[in-house]
Amino acid sequence: MSRIAASWSRFTGIVVKELIQLRRDRLTFGMMIGIPVLQLLLFGFAINSDPKHLPTAILVADQGVFSRTLVAGLQNSGYFDVVRSLRHEDEARQALRAGQIQFLVQIPYDFSRRLVRGERPALLVEADATDPAATSNALAALSGVIDTALAHDLKGPLAALAPGASPVELRVHRRYNPEGLTQYNIVPGLLGVILTMTMVLMTGLAMTRERERGTFENLLATPARPLEVMTGKIVPYILIGLIQVVLVLIAARWLFAVPLEGSIVLLFLVVLLFIATNLALGITISSLARNQLQAMQMTFFFFLPSILLSGFMFPFRGMPEWAQALGSILPLTHFLVLVRGILLKGSTTTELWPALWPIGAFLAAVIAIGLLFYRRTLD
């Protein structure tokens, strides 16, 4: 038999064995199905915070003094960080869609002139409201900012314009999640959290279980190679992961009426990549851990930051920079951007690429570490 055929035979052997064992392990099987349903119901509530420094593009068509004051005022409020590179409306709207900026503020060309005339000029603000918690406070602060900033300039002969009603008409468009529904944000997020938890844990136990039961010695005595064992143990759980995804998506649709704007094929491809990444991490954990307890502890050591720093629990942009840096290593962080993008914004592959490659990089790194630490002997 050729080397490849022999290798394939061993790989399928491990897949079949894992599937049979999974089928006989009722408790685990029930847990895999039970956990998503339970969590979905538990997390049906919102988690709020007050994020600042949200990336904002400001398109200034007006040359007057008031628009400059306004931009400075927005910046001083602490809620908005102006992204200066975006000068055209198309560019800016693209950035909003891709989640690179949270707000797009447009100051029309006759803003200052109309303000002086007391015509209450319009100020157009578009917000990415997929995560309502991330935008609501900033939006609430916005009108206050405008009034304070302009009050400073509206002095002397113009003072008459300052008091009373706001001199500016603020028009806010919440994009992608117009009603600001938290479930729209939470449910896609839950998908990632559930997959992270169950996938890492299940495969995390896979190898340590063999070691504790003594069957690892038998497996080692056969010609099976590390990559065959690792991939063979991953494949059955991909199926389980897909079942979970279908469950959550059905619940998202029927329980919470979460829309599906983008391509379902793209969604499942992204999900597959994410599942494979978590499974590979689990297998790597189980080659590092000495027993099932250690594997469990390592899993939670990974799971906690995933929940806290990924933008699931707290808005990502509301976290301090070091936390954001840590968070952007985690696959869940990027998965959340991807799933929210596909479900709520109908984003395409090119738009999602910046969030796609970090997951792939994580997967490659984890497999490399796993192969490095796979024990080829009983030493």
Partner: protein
């Protein structure tokens, strides 16, 4: 001359500070049944694991079926059948599923037929759908043997295969081993049972990680030059003390109505027995041939004395 199936030189293995195998050199001929004996913890399992590539020796070199034990473990794994001391097949798979899995791992040709043949040969066919975890010791042992022979290895490494197995199953097992050896398969088997040791072509005796004796049973016994006497008569338990106190007597062991007396030095034991016979006219004293067990116990004493 037959080729050597196992040819290793001065293998050593430590676990932490513990020196578990010391300078182990073994030569096992092709088609031979080679017995591996020694008390618990003497390093038998560790030695076998080094032979099949599951443990890397700290030092030493050698070959197994012509493949280097350090560098060519992949080739060794393909050609060797290893039966672990503890049952290590999957308890949540059935007998048939276990064999099928092993068949896939070794890339066995026409696997289904090979598995069916193995099931028949070991009388497992009827239980093929039974979960391995629900089998009794004897059946587990048969399954394990069937599994490690499925890919028709040229060398079998069996680690205490008959521990906890009833006498009938043990006899069947040894019949199987001899039949295999007749076809040219080499078998290295570790055991605690003396009757099994005597069924091996050659033996090695290990204690505290050191190889103390190697050869056929007769050679080992003859080389040791032990003296052994049988003492029979009334009130044997009373005379036991007296005999043990005599110079030249190492061990007095009761076997039913006979005391078995052994000594490292056959001459001084003979003198001691002469004195004892004179003072115990009611008893019968007669010299007998020492057995393997006598030799092994005496070897162990020596190791213990040295350690002191």
């Amino acid at each position: 001359m037959r080729a050597l199936a196992i040819d290793v030189h001065k293998l050593n293995k430590h676990f932490g500070a513990k020196h578990v195998v010391r300078d182990l050199s073994l030569h096992v001929l092709g088609g031979e049944i080679f017995g591996f004996l020694g008390p618990n913890g003497s390093g038998k399992t560790t030695s076998i694991r080094m032979l099949c590539g599951l443990l890397t020796p700290d030092s030493g070199s050698g070959t197994c079926l012509g493949h280097d034990v350090v560098r060519e473990t992949a080739a060794i794994k393909r050609e060797v059948g290893y039966m672990t001391q503890r049952f290590s097949l999957w308890e949540d798979l059935t007998i048939g599923e276990n064999l099928d899995f092993i068949g896939r791992m070794y890339g066995v040709r026409s696997r289904t037929a090979a598995v069916a043949r193995a099931l028949d040969r070991f009388g497992l066919a009827e239980r093929s759908d039974q979960l391995a975890g629900t089998l009794s010791g004897g059946w587990k042992q048969r399954l394990a043997l069937a599994a490690c022979m499925l890919h028709e290895p040229r060398l079998l490494l069996l680690d205490e295969p008959t521990a906890g197995v009833d006498p009938k199953a043990r006899r069947d097992f040894w019949q199987e081993i001899h039949a295999l050896a007749a076809t040219g398969v080499t078998v290295l088997v570790s055991t605690h049972y003396m009757d099994e040791a005597e069924r091996c072509h050659r033996l090695a005796y290990l204690a505290s990680g050191r190889l103390l004796a190697m050869g056929t049973a007769q050679e080992i016994v003859a080389r040791r030059g032990l003296g052994a006497w049988a003492v029979s008569g009334p009130e044997l338990s009373a005379i036991t003390r007296t005999l043990e106190a005599l110079a030249g007597v190492d061990h007095v062991t009761a076997f039913g109505n006979v005391l078995h007396v052994t000594g490292r030095d056959a001459r001084s034991l003979g003198e001691a027995m002469g004195i004892a016979a004179a003072s115990h006219p009611a008893h019968r004293f007669e010299p007998v041939a020492p057995g393997l067990e006598d030799v092994f116990i005496s070897l162990m004493d020596e190791v213990r004395d040295e350690a002191r």
